[in-house]
């Protein structure tokens, strides 16, 4: 896993080209063919919505991978940033319900339920979509900056960083579960009606809006993928991977590793946040369940299963594991968690490179099968993290 991403050698260059063309094909399939099929009625609206959610999860997975796979920072707080983005967008969507809620009041239902007559001051600016989008960037950005600044300044790393990010997420979760926060308590936000004047629930307009959201999510994912790919080819990407492989050497070479880490931590928080913001209208709900420590760990599972330290791996893992999950939760509701846990143990123990490393690990085996003389060595040695 040391060298898989730098496109310096010719082998890597061909692999890079192969990846790009694969990404291109998948992008066209997802962004053009899939919505077209949906418009024709071949793909159901439900399926489209579910796949839209997978794409949002892929953004979350990318943010985990940029930190873990590329910088060696296992953050267990990415679900927090994902949810924060979701909540910020959710506040706008709640305001767009207007007086169509259960209580027919001009403020969100849960506030009426809590006895509020007028809108709390901090809710007011969320009538504006632009403001909400600024907050989607600002809130997770500021939080991750503050946390990252403190954590990296005192050189908290490795497992400690993981535990602290988990604690941060946990603290935020118990806070969002409270009604007093005025963010919907344990029910969160739901029952959205409109986004930018387009209906989300109307039988005619709703599917069109969803299709638009789906395409937007796909485009954002493609852009983020491009950004990460570009970043990995720059000198910044090189330092990033150097920090992962030997932070002390980077320090001794005169690089301010903390600043690099802080930048990437904030960037990844923003990626996750944007994913969350796109997730909310597609899923139609956001609540503190999304901040549970398990959710962050699940995102790490997707990356581990797909293949960390690659950019295709996390996307593949997020979509694949979630697809498997929605199938398995219906087919084996009792055994699904055992299945997920076992998958995780097995991947960590036997396939540290994830699914994307499967071809290269199977290649020698394939060679041996083809001609016993060709391959002498067993599969490449297990990578070390």
């Amino acid at each position: 896993m040391t060298d898989t991403t730098s496109p310096s050698t010719s082998v890597n260059r061909t692999r890079f080209r192969a990846e790009l063309s694969a990404v291109g094909v998948i992008a066209v399939l997802l962004l053009v063919v899939f919505p077209l099929l949906n418009a024709q009625g071949v793909v159901s609206n439900f399926t489209l919505g579910v796949w839209g959610k997978y794409l949002c999860y892929a953004l979350l997975a990318l943010s985990v991978d940029m930190l873990w796979g590329y910088t060696g920072l296992l953050s267990l707080g990415q679900a927090l940033f994902f949810s924060l983005g979701g909540y910020m967008h959710g506040m706008y969507l709640m305001r767009m319900i207007g007086d169509l809620g259960q209580y027919r009041m001009p403020i969100p239902d849960f506030l009426v339920f809590l006895g509020w007559k007028t809108l709390p001051a901090f809710w007011e600016p969320f009538d504006s979509f632009a403001f909400a989008m600024v907050m989607v960037v600002l809130v997770p950005g500021v939080l991750s900056f503050l946390f990252g600044y403190l954590a990296f300044r005192s050189r908290i790393k490795g497992v400690y960083f993981s535990i602290l990010t988990q604690a941060l997420t946990y603290a935020a979760m118990i806070m969002f579960f409270r009604n007093n926060l005025l963010m919907g308590g344990n029910n969160g936000f739901t029952d959205f009606k409109f986004i930018l004047g387009h209906s989300l629930v109307d039988p005619v307009e709703g599917p069109k809006t969803m299709r638009g959201l789906f395409i937007a999510t796909g485009v954002v994912l493609l852009l983020v993928y491009g950004l990460c790919r570009w970043l990995s080819t720059t000198k910044f990407g090189l330092v990033q991977r150097a920090i992962r492989d030997g932070e002390n050497r980077v320090l001794f070479s005169g690089y301010a590793a903390a600043s690099f880490k802080l930048f990437i931590f904030v960037l990844c928080a923003l990626i996750a946040s944007v994913g969350g913001a796109l997730y909310v209208p597609l899923a139609g709900i956001i609540n503190p369940e999304e901040m549970k420590p398990e959710k962050s760990l699940e995102a790490v599972v997707w990356v581990a299963v797909g293949g960390r330290g690659t950019l295709v791996g996390p996307i593949l893992g997020a979509v694949g594991v979630n697809w498997l999950k929605s199938w398995a939760t219906r087919a084996f509701p009792d055994l699904w968690l055992i299945f997920l846990g076992a998958l995780f143990i097995l991947v960590v123990l036997f396939l540290p490179g994830g699914l994307v490393s499967l071809p290269s690990r199977l290649a020698p085996l394939w060679k041996r099968l083809r001609g016993p003389s060709a391959g002498t060595e067993a599969a490449s040695p297990a990578t070390k993290g």
Binding site: G158, Y160, N180, I338
Partner: protein, 595 residues
Amino acid sequence: MRNTIHRFLALATLALTCAGVGTAAETARETIARAALAGSDRAQREIIGSLAGRSDAAIPELLDAWKRDELFLYAPADGQAPVPVQLTGTPDAAGTRTAVRIADGAPLTDTAGQPLRLIPSDLKAVEHTSGLRRAMKAVLDLVDLGSPDPATRIKAIDTLGKAQAADKLPVLRTRLESETDDDVRDKLREAIALIELKAADDATRIAALGVLADLHTLGSADFVEAARREAETAGRAEIVAAARTAQRAIEGHRSMVDLFGTLFRGASTGSILLVVALGLAITFGLMGVINMAHGEMIAVGAYTTYLVQNLFGAGVVIPFFGLSLAIPGLGLSGGAYNAYFIAAVPASFLAAAVVGVGLERSIIRFLYRRPLESLLATWGVSLVLQQVFRLVFGANNVQVSSPSYLSGNWTINEIIFGWNRVFVIGFGILIVFGIWLVLTKTPLGLLMRAVMQNRGMAACMGVRTERVNMLTFGLGSGLAGLAGAFLSQIGNVGPSLGQSYIVDSFMVVVVGGVGNIAGTVISAFGIGSIDQVLQQYLPSWAPGMAGVPFIGSFLQNLAQDSAVFGKILVLGMIILFLQWRPAGIFVTRSRSLEG
């Protein structure tokens, strides 16, 4: 037969009480018998009223029976004077009940000496009017005053004082003269002072407030406040001043009680944190393994306790992947049943240790060099175990009955020390002491420390490091099991039991300094105390938070949820603390760069 003995005992007590108090020549029973025979309602009221201040088990019994219409006048056939009797026991087939003479509590006998059984409808019932019932209540209110048990006396005096009825003053004063128990004396003084707050003349009220200031009990706060208000409206400056003095004394006492109560709760919260984190301090602290399944080890211990409990009790049927596994119970009860916990403690330790050793052998030993990945793999294990618990024991909490010896408290100077919290602290101390013994006084502890300090060197000296790893992990997991047995006594046992403690316990270990048991102890108690202090005092700080720019009202809103906000603040403090000491309270010094 049993009844006879009972009555005999009652009589004996009665005789003793009479001898002790030495007031009336007539026993309470005789008085009541006389009242039952008295012709007029007024006479009855007077006779009953004369019982006031007497303490005798027969009084509540007989007066209650009277109110329940169980007292009758039995007219013997030979024309003698009617005998007041009480009918007790359940009616037999003919409707007859046992008759007991009120005057001496002895069974009513016929001329031949045989016990008589009577039918209620044949007899003349002893009537009672509402006026009489009031008189009885006045007597009953005072009965507990003479109870041999100080706690009962205190409770009765407290009720009297808070009712502030002036007619009870003489009785209380009389009692104060004969009372020997200091606590009861204080309570009597308080009650008298409370009643005197209603007195007409100022001097008495001021004196009463002086007494209350001297006693400064929390219970009198509301009454002093009311007296002050009243005096303020009436314009009595002296009383207001006296009331303020009393209030200051009570407030001072209240803050002392709050402080010690908070510290005590902090110590018990700290002990809980300590017990759940100690296992982790071994596996994470000493071995460097991030065991996300640590919480599930705790749950293993808790479920083992549940099983042992059922083994001692009625048995349990467990659905096990389609099969149902019936575990027969011993059907014990009482003290033997309550002793199940003693058996459950080692069982929980062993069960969790076995699971832990299995986990170490099958998964963790491959990941010693990859700590981040051991985190992920053990999380997988935790998911699997949680689901297994759900399938085996059900998704709901199982019932682990807390032994009766944990439900009670000591009250010292109005600070309440609940026994369950005392138990928590004691258990924590025991475990720490046990670990200290294991680590410093046993050969295994020596090997463990050697391997953890320098694995390579230890291996060179012939230590079988693999085996030591296994045993160390088993010990850590076993400690988690102990924590489970312990948590089952004070909280719910469910599949996600461990999840609620995992974040906290990691925090405790990180703050304490990895690889350091003493640090874990200090950090557990520190975090526990800070948490409780915040919970106690945050609501009182809430108004001050309104002054914070921009987010003032928001903070104020949150501060009302003191439990949650306190927790968040604690986590924030931990993050800031790690800025100052990134490696925790106690740092294991090493020259290694990657340390």
